[in-house]
C-alpha cells in the first residue's frame, strides 16, 4: 500500500505541474501585488520619508490581498472535476494529504513574495536594514496565510461566488500576522531588536500549519454533501 508521504509528494508534484501549465494563474496575484504597491506612491506622493514609514504596512496589506486572490484555484478546480472527492476516498488521512495542496499553494504564492520583497522594498524606499526583516517576516508569515486561506477556500467550495465571502471570513484572522510582521520591519528599520516578533510569527505559523489541516479536512468533507 502506498504510504501517506508518497501520496503527499504526488499531490504536490501534480499541483505544481498543473500550475506550470497555467502560469498566468500563479503570476496574476504577484502582478496585482506589484501594482498595488505602485499605487501608493502615486496616491500619497513620492516623499521618501513617508514612504519608508508606511512601507511595511503597505507591503503586508498588499500581500494579504494577493493571497486572497490566489485562493480560488487552491481547491476549486479539484472540487469541480472530482479529484477532491477521490482524495476523500483514500485510506490515507485527508488532513495530511491536503497539506500537500497548501504547500503547493505556498510555493506558488508565498515564496515568490519573499523573492520579490527586495524589489518592493526598493520601490518604497525601505532602508536596507529593514528589507531583510521584511523578507524574513514574509518567509515566516506566509505559510500561515496559505494555511488559513485554505480553510476559507475549503469552507466556500460549494458556493458559486465565494470570493468576497472568503475575504470577509479570512481578513480578521490575518490581523495578528499583520501586526507582528509590520512591527518587526519597523523595528529593524530603526535598528531595534526583532527576534521577539519573528519568534511570535514563527509560532503562529507552526500553530496554524499544524491545526488548520483539521479544519480544512472537516470543511472539505462537509462540502461533499
Amino acid at each position: 500500500m502506498m504510504n501517506s508521504w508518497q501520496l503527499w509528494r504526488s499531490v504536490l508534484v501534480k499541483d505544481l505541474r498543473i500550475a506550470a501549465r497555467r502560469r498566468s494563474d500563479a503570476l496574476n496575484p504577484l502582478l496585482f501585488l506589484l501594482m498595488v504597491v505602485t499605487l501608493f506612491p502615486l496616491g500619497i506622493g513620492p516623499g521618501p520619508d513617508i514612504l519608508a514609514r508606511i512601507a511595511p504596512g503597505i507591503i503586508w496589506v498588499a500581500a494579504l490581498l494577493a493571497t486572497l486572490l490566489g485562493l480560488d484555484r487552491l481547491f476549486k478546480d479539484d472540487y469541480n472535476d472530482g479529484s477532491l472527492e477521490q482524495l476523500c476516498l483514500l485510506p490515507q488521512p485527508l488532513a495530511f494529504t491536503l497539506t500537500a495542496k497548501v504547500a503547493a499553494h505556498w510555493l506558488l504564492s508565498g515564496l515568490p513574495l519573499v523573492i520579490l520583497s527586495p524589489v518592493l522594498a526598493l520601490l518604497l524606499n525601505l532602508p536596507l536594514d529593514a528589507w531583510w526583516a521584511l523578507a524574513l517576516t514574509l518567509l515566516l508569515g506566509t505559510p500561515a496565510l496559505s494555511a488559513l486561506g485554505a480553510i476559507g477556500a475549503a469552507l466556500t467550495l460549494q458556493l458559486q461566488r465565494g470570493g468576497s465571502l472568503v475575504s470577509l471570513i479570512l481578513l480578521p484572522l490575518f490581523i495578528p500576522l499583520l501586526i507582528f510582521a509590520t512591527s518587526a520591519v519597523e523595528n529593524a528599520g530603526m535598528g531595534l531588536a526583532v527576534q521577539g516578533q519573528l519568534a511570535i510569527l514563527a509560532a503562529i505559523s507552526v500553530l496554524t500549519v499544524t491545526l488548520a489541516p483539521l479544519a480544512m479536512a472537516a470543511a472539505v468533507r462537509m462540502s461533499m454533501n
Binding site: S10, D81, M224
Partner: protein
C-alpha cells in the same frame, strides 16, 4: 423497493437508508445488499437519487437515516479498509485537463494505491492501447473529445486492485465499441469475485452480465418543504 435477502453476509449492505435532500425525501428505508460477484444497476428517473445513493455507498455522504455496512461493519468504523477495497468513479471523473493522458493514467494509478509507480510504465501503455488512446498519450486531456476523456478516466478500471466498483454513469459519452469494451471488463471483474454497483440510463447490451436491478421510484417521494 427492497430486494435480495441472501443468507450470506453481504459485502456491502445499505440498511434502511433514507435521504432527505433540500426538503425532499428522495428515498427512505431503502435496502440494498451487494454480494461478492454481483453487479447491480440502479435505475430511476432524473432526480430520483441515484447519484446520492452511490455517494452514500461510497461513504462520501452520510445517510439521513439508516447505515451502510461493509462486511457487516459500519462504514465510519472501517473507513480505511473500505477505501482500499473501493473504486468510485463519480459523475465528475477526476481527469485533469491540464495533464496529458499518460500523466492522468499515472495519477489515477496513484489514487488507486499503486506504490511501484514511476512516471512511465509498460502497463500504462497497454491500458492506453486497449482503450484506443494510443497516439494521444502526450496530448493535453482537455483537448481530447468527451468520449476520449471518459476513456482516460476509465483507465482506472484496468489499473485498480479494488474489489468493489461504484460507477456513476460509466457509459456517458462512450461509443458502441467503448461500451462493449467496458462490459467485457465488467465480466472479467465479476469472474474474479469483484462486485459492481452502477447507474446507467442505457440498458446494458451484454446478455452475459448477471445484472440485478434496483429501481428508485420517485413517485413515492414525499415533498417536505
Amino acid at each position: 423497493m427492497t430486494q435480495s435477502t441472501n443468507t450470506a453476509m453481504p459485502l456491502l449492505h445499505a440498511d434502511r437508508v433514507s435521504s432527505i435532500r433540500s426538503g425532499r425525501v428522495l428515498f427512505s428505508q431503502l435496502q440494498l445488499a451487494v454480494q461478492a460477484g454481483e453487479i447491480w444497476q440502479i435505475s430511476g428517473a432524473n432526480g430520483a437519487g441515484k447519484s446520492t445513493l452511490l455517494r452514500m455507498l461510497a461513504g462520501l455522504l452520510v445517510p439521513n437515516e439508516g447505515e451502510v455496512r461493509f462486511n457487516g461493519q459500519p462504514l465510519h468504523r472501517v473507513r480505511d479498509d473500505y477505501h482500499q477495497q473501493l473504486l468510485y468513479i463519480g459523475h465528475k471523473a477526476a481527469v485533469k485537463p491540464e495533464l496529458s493522458a499518460l500523466e492522468n493514467v499515472f495519477w489515477q494509478r496513484r489514487l488507486g494505491g499503486d506504490t511501484t509507480a514511476t512516471a512511465e510504465q509498460a502497463q500504462d501503455w497497454d491500458v492506453l492501447e486497449q482503450l484506443g488512446l494510443l497516439g494521444l498519450e502526450e496530448e493535453m486531456t482537455g483537448r481530447l473529445s468527451a468520449g476520449q476523456q471518459r476513456r482516460v478516466a476509465l483507465t482506472r478500471l484496468w489499473c485498480s486492485t479494488a474489489s468493489l466498483w461504484i460507477l456513476d454513469e460509466p457509459f456517458t459519452s462512450l461509443d458502441v465499441d467503448g461500451i462493449a469494451l467496458l462490459q467485457q471488463r465488467f465480466l472479467q471483474h465479476l469472474s474474479r469475485g469483484g462486485s459492481i454497483v452502477m447507474t446507467s440510463h442505457q440498458p446494458l447490451t451484454d446478455t452475459q452480465l448477471p445484472l440485478q436491478q434496483l429501481t428508485l421510484n420517485s413517485a413515492r417521494a414525499e415533498v417536505l418543504l
